[in-house]
């Protein structure tokens, strides 16, 4: 008998990075690395499970910037070039390592992997991986949920509710455009929740959100079942809370799985290890070493003396860890079922990119876990969040607590002395966008294009990624540049529109550079 449910929620997001003005833009590699290490391996895992008739369920968000980049012809073409370079490099590596059997087999593994990626990407999916996710969603095993337009951090937009509304409306419309149906749930960027987001969620037909654990535990009134059952707010928005125990088991620095000594070591990459002259065509154009993706070592232990990676050991460790995760969920659910007198739901949200990109064996762990859950136990089932709502609609009425999943649980990651200077500009630009929209309700031609571009620039400036990177202390220059570019372009458009002196040449140039949301309608910002 089923005693309860586990819901995996994978949040797939990358900031919108696309620079048609320059080749080999380093930050564009974020997308390419994530495609090869996370998205293609996840698609392959899900497809294999489908082929093997394994009854699995997973909920996933694909954010609008990611959907836009995955369907962008320029980035698709550049990803193919990225793969071709890697195939060339792994061929060179096969030759270089011919007398080092422990590395040679790995070089062959990488050559095969990148060749397979190329065939999956170009031949199987005609360069469009959104099709792959869409097809899996159609089987009912995967539920894709929406996200805010550019992953804007909503709790810090409260002073301009129109910006919250526009982030939600553009996000939902973007989902409909790429996935051809309506989303039932939404991933609030960074799990950033404040009660003020609910009005827009309701307006755009969103039924549920996911919050950090204390978003539910500190909800008002006090939720009887903690994070183990969803609550519904007086506005009718259902909120699921993140399970603390399962998050820790996967990700804890001390007891988490990905730090196991048999798993692939992220930090040892031939981009750093090999000679400049040999590597110069495959690293940054200014000669700086970069992660190529070809990594030959396992974590080995708390030592710099790393041992060669053994894929078979890593795979069997992933299977052991999948078994351990399943065993712990069985215990947890058995216990909770007895305590609650009803089936609990354990909600396990993770960044999708951690599977594969950071934890190389992560997609295989998921595959192996889902297979074990299907065959080896009867205590719980996997479920999507929509299925749970439909099966267990009786819920406690309660309003979640304002919260996020960032460090310390509230807004500090995105609001601290390193990045607080951006909010004056973001807030002012939001107000100006509302002013422009209200003053130009029937704009046509060039003015309409300028208004739409102003909305695009504002949305891009609002990505939570910039504040995050600025706080992180690395790649700060890029994030600051993006913030300044988008606010700068917005501000110039604002004045040009107000003064009725739009520079068409310049407008077309920034439309070409910042081309996200081709169907964007600036009226999303009208407040009247």
């Amino acid at each position: 008998m089923t005693k309860g449910y586990v819901a995996f929620v994978l949040h797939a997001h990358l900031p919108y990075v696309r620079h048609p003005e320059q080749d080999n833009y380093l930050e564009e590699r974020w997308l390419f690395e994530a495609i090869s290490e996370t998205y293609i391996p996840l698609i392959a895992s899900f497809n294999l499970l489908l082929k093997e008739n394994i009854d699995f369920r997973v909920t996933m968000s694909l954010t609008p910037p990611l959907l836009s980049m995955l369907t962008d012809p320029l980035l698709q073409e550049r990803y193919i070039r990225y793969l071709e370079k890697l195939i060339e490099l792994s061929d060179k590596e096969i030759e270089r390592t011919k007398y080092q059997p422990e590395f040679h087999s790995l070089a062959v593994m990488y050559r095969n992997k990148y060749s397979q990626d190329l065939s999956t990407f170009r031949d199987q999916y005609s360069c469009n991986l959104v099709t792959a996710f869409k097809e899996i969603q159609e089987t009912g095993k995967l539920e894709i949920i929406a996200c805010a337009a550019t992953h804007g951090y909503l709790p810090l937009m409260e002073v301009c509710p129109q910006s919250i509304r526009a982030q939600i409306s553009v996000g939902v419309k973007s989902y409909e455009r790429y996935l051809g149906c309506k989303p039932r749930g939404i991933w609030l960027p960074e799990c950033g929740y404040i009660p003020a987001v609910e009005e827009a969620l309701k307006e755009y037909g969103i039924e549920y959100i996911i919050t950090e654990s204390h978003g539910i535990l500190y909800a008002n009134p006090r939720p009887v079942f903690g994070t183990y059952l969803p609550i519904v707010s007086p506005n009718g928005i259902v909120a699921f809370g993140r399970d603390i125990e399962s998050s820790r088991q996967v990700w804890s620095a001390s007891e988490g799985y990905p730090g196991d000594f048999d798993y692939r070591e992220f930090y040892r990459d031939i981009g750093f290890d090999l000679d400049y002259n040999y590597m110069k065509e495959y690293i940054s154009s200014d000669g700086k070493p970069i992660h190529t993706g070809i990594k030959y070592y396992r974590i080995s232990g708390k030592t710099d003396d790393k041992q060669p990676y053994n894929p078979d050991w890593a795979k069997s460790k992933a299977e052991i860890h999948a078994g351990n995760f399943m065993f712990n969920r069985e215990n947890q659910i058995q216990y909770l079922h007895d305590k609650l007198g009803k089936p609990p739901i354990i909600v396990c949200p993770y960044d999708a990119e951690l599977f594969g990109h950071w934890w190389y064996e992560g997609p295989y762990w998921l595959y192996s876990l889902f297979k074990k859950i299907h065959y080896d136990q009867q205590v719980f089932k996997l479920i999507t969040l929509s299925e749970f709502i439909d099966a267990y609609p009786v819920m406690q009425v309660s309003t979640p607590c304002s919260s996020s999943w960032g460090h310390k649980g509230y807004n500090e990651v995105w609001l601290n002395p390193t990045n607080d200077w951006i909010y004056k500009h973001l807030h002012k630009s939001s107000e100006r966008m509302v002013e422009l929209a209200n003053e130009n309700t029937e704009a046509e031609g060039l003015t309409r294009d300028a208004l739409n571009q102003a909305a695009r620039e504002l949305l891009l400036a609002q990505s939570s990624d910039w504040a995050f990177i600025i706080r992180s202390g690395t790649m700060v220059q890029y994030a600051e540049k993006r913030t300044k570019d988008h606010i700068g372009r917005f501000t110039r458009l604002y004045h040009d529109i107000k003064e009725k002196s739009i520079d068409e040449g310049w407008l077309r140039d920034i439309e070409y550079k910042d081309n996200i949301f081709p169907e964007l309608d600036y009226k999303a910002y009208c407040s009247t």
């Binding site: 992953h151 204390h214 519904v232 620095a253 730090g259 215990n331 909770l336 909010y423 690395t474």
Partner: protein
């Protein structure tokens, strides 16, 4: 300063020539305020009260907890335009006023901020459990304010439930001590963004 732009390098406007103070909540115990004041507004003050009073007074932010009607003042200076404000009460509505303090009793108000709520930092004391059928709500058959009560609940068992950890590795895990709000990668304590720049992911400790 005017709002300057060039074609390739954008400089953010130094000022928007506004007279305003904006308040946001950082967490249950901290607010952040930023403000701007134009020379015109300052001149109006000079006309009303004289330049001497401006010079003799101290710039302050008056912070009011509207929920319990209590206020305090923070001395700032004329050379800053933002401040982190420690506040005593989570789950309270706050407003800030920028002004000049002349004496302990005499505060001259310049302008007020928006209202902002601090989040809660603990389990709610409100134990009025009330359940509805979401399907009825969804299909418009139920008004949430007058809905049928499906279950009433005894909260006595709740403390054991929330800390109902059953996995052997975490048996000694104390919920109250756990740091909430750690996104997946943060638990590693690693600087992940460095190499990959997958920035939205909270890769930093």
């Amino acid at each position: 300063m005017s709002e300057v732009h060039t074609h390739h390098v954008y400089n953010l406007p130094y000022s928007y020539s506004d007279n305003r103070i904006v308040l946001v909540a950082k967490d249950p115990y901290w607010l952040y305020a930023y403000w701007e004041m134009s020379e015109e507004r300052k001149n109006i003050f000079f006309e009303e009260f004289g330049q001497r009073l401006w010079e003799k007074s101290i710039p302050v932010i008056k912070v009011t907890n509207v929920s319990n009607n209590s206020s305090f003042y923070i001395r700032i200076n004329d050379f800053t335009n933002n401040w982190y404000i420690q506040v005593p009460d989570p789950e309270s509505l706050y407003v800030a006023e920028l002004g000049r303090q002349v004496t302990d009793q005499f505060f001259i108000h310049l302008f007020s901020s928006n209202y902002v709520s601090t989040p809660s930092s603990s389990v709610s004391s409100n134990t009025g459990a009330y359940f509805i059928n979401y399907k009825d709500l969804r299909h418009g058959r139920l008004d949430i304010n007058t809905g049928e009560i499906y279950e009433s609940y005894n909260y006595k068992s709740q403390s054991t439930l929330i800390s109902g950890i059953s996995s052997p590795e975490l048996m000694h895990f104390n919920l109250q001590q756990s740091a909430f709000g750690i996104s997946s990668a943060e638990l590693f304590g690693i600087n992940f963004a460095e190499q990959l720049g997958i920035s939205s992911l909270n890769f930093l400790w």
